[in-house]
Symmetry: none
Subunit: 226 residues, 2 copies
DNA sequence: TTTCCCGTGTCACACTCGTGTCACATCGAT
DNA sequence: ATCGATGTGACACGAGTGTGACACGGGAAA
């Protein structure tokens, strides 16, 4: 498993120094992509999914801010700005456009690298806690998208929260009461049987993965890997 | 009750300092097992069930990652990595392989010890009070899953609650009356003999562990370790 | 506003499967 | 050997669950 990093810098020597550092230091951890002008950078942002971007602000073609905006409209990978000494207002603008960190020239490669790892770890943690999966079912709590075998499926609100609860407790048997208390919360003046109906509709929408929801007679339901 | 900790470190002095610290500090709380190379560590992981592992990453024989993977494939005991200063990518990789925490050399033993206790407490919380076991039978009250020799078996509702009662009173003789009052609760207008039937069905489903339910003629049933 | 549609709760019916009961076989104690 | 206690197979009933249909209500579209 390697992480894809985009480094954008017009000063050729610095660009090489940085990319070499990432290639060597990580020992295979990084896949480095470089660009030395704004247009090239924008094209590469559009055509790839990066795990990290390091953007110089002053660039020919397009500014680092433009690239940042383009990246943000596409995803939310961590971005570090590289800025010249004394241009603090640039930094401010950088945070506005949504960068995660910045370094001021001249900077040490080691320091930049440390920041990279920190951001990456944070991003990973966030993703992990947002991403639920079990067998062929995966669910992203942030985007609220549900996929079965990487194909997107659409489900309704109640089914969604029910699925989240099932995923958060996969392999456990969940009683109707527990499900009611978690998914229906306040409107507890409903029949136990609504759970059955919700499960049915969820199974319908899950299609081929419907078998992963097992009925445990007398006790409740259970989501299994297969 | 003591906790079994595996400490793997090739630097002899450090290894001794750590193991001494755990032995003295815990005052009997810890059973310390040590290894100073990868091969030895892997053998000890395979041959024991640990409650905690502290793994150096750089080792002769096999890396801490390898040991971590081996441990993960076996169970989910908490793992703390010990890494040298400046090797942040190791930390990242550690989180990927599934470590729970890490310390960077040089570290204070006190700090490491605090992390240990924290992880242990967290792990305990997940297991304890929910887990019942007797001989080759284990039952998780939270997930409602029953295992015999680590193989999952499926049982029905009545059998499940009967087994819970048996497990909560293992080695005791339980009369039919007591079982009826606990497992059948309200529907007490049934024959004593339903217990026999329930026991029979439970034995069937427990398979190789069926012998653990002993009949005590004239009094009732009793769950034994073997 | 009105109209329509979609999400959701409820009911009715069908059916599976768990469970209680009985009859008979077997076991064990005296 | 005898008798009470327990194991075992079979069976029938009913609880628990799947499923289709419908009604209600809120939000979107006209």
């Amino acid at each position: 498993m390697s992480y894809k990093v985009l480094i954008v810098e017009d000063l050729q020597e610095l660009l090489e120094a940085m990319s070499d550092f990432y290639r060597e230091k990580g020992a295979g951890l990084w896949e480095v992509v470089t660009a030395s002008d704004g247009k090239d950078a924008l094209a590469k942002v559009a055509g790839n999914d990066f795990d990290l971007m390091i953007l110089d602000i002053m660039l020919p073609g397009a500014s680092g801010f433009d690239i940042c905006k383009a990246a943000r409209s596409k995803g939310d990978c961590p971005i570090i700005f590289v800025t010249a000494l004394g241009s603090e207002n640039s930094i401010l603008k950088g945070y506005e456009t949504g960068c995660d960190d910045y370094v001021v020239k001249p900077f040490s490669l080691k320091q930049l690298y440390a920041k990279s790892l920190g951001l990456l770890k944070r991003a990973k943690k966030n993703q992990d806690s947002d991403l639920l999966s079990c067998g062929s079912i995966s669910l992203n709590k942030r985007t609220m998208l549900v996929k079965v075998n990487d194909r997107e499926v659409s489900i309704n609100a109640k089914e969604y929260f029910l699925l989240v609860y099932l995923l958060e407790n996969k392999n456990s048997v969940l009683t109707r009461r527990a499900i009611l208390e978690r998914v229906w919360k306040d409107d507890l003046d409903v029949t136990d049987r609504v759970v059955d109906t919700a499960i049915r509709r969820l199974r319908d929408n899950l299609g081929e993965a419907s078998g992963q929801i097992k009925t445990v007679i007398g006790r409740g339901y259970r989501l299994t890997e297969e």
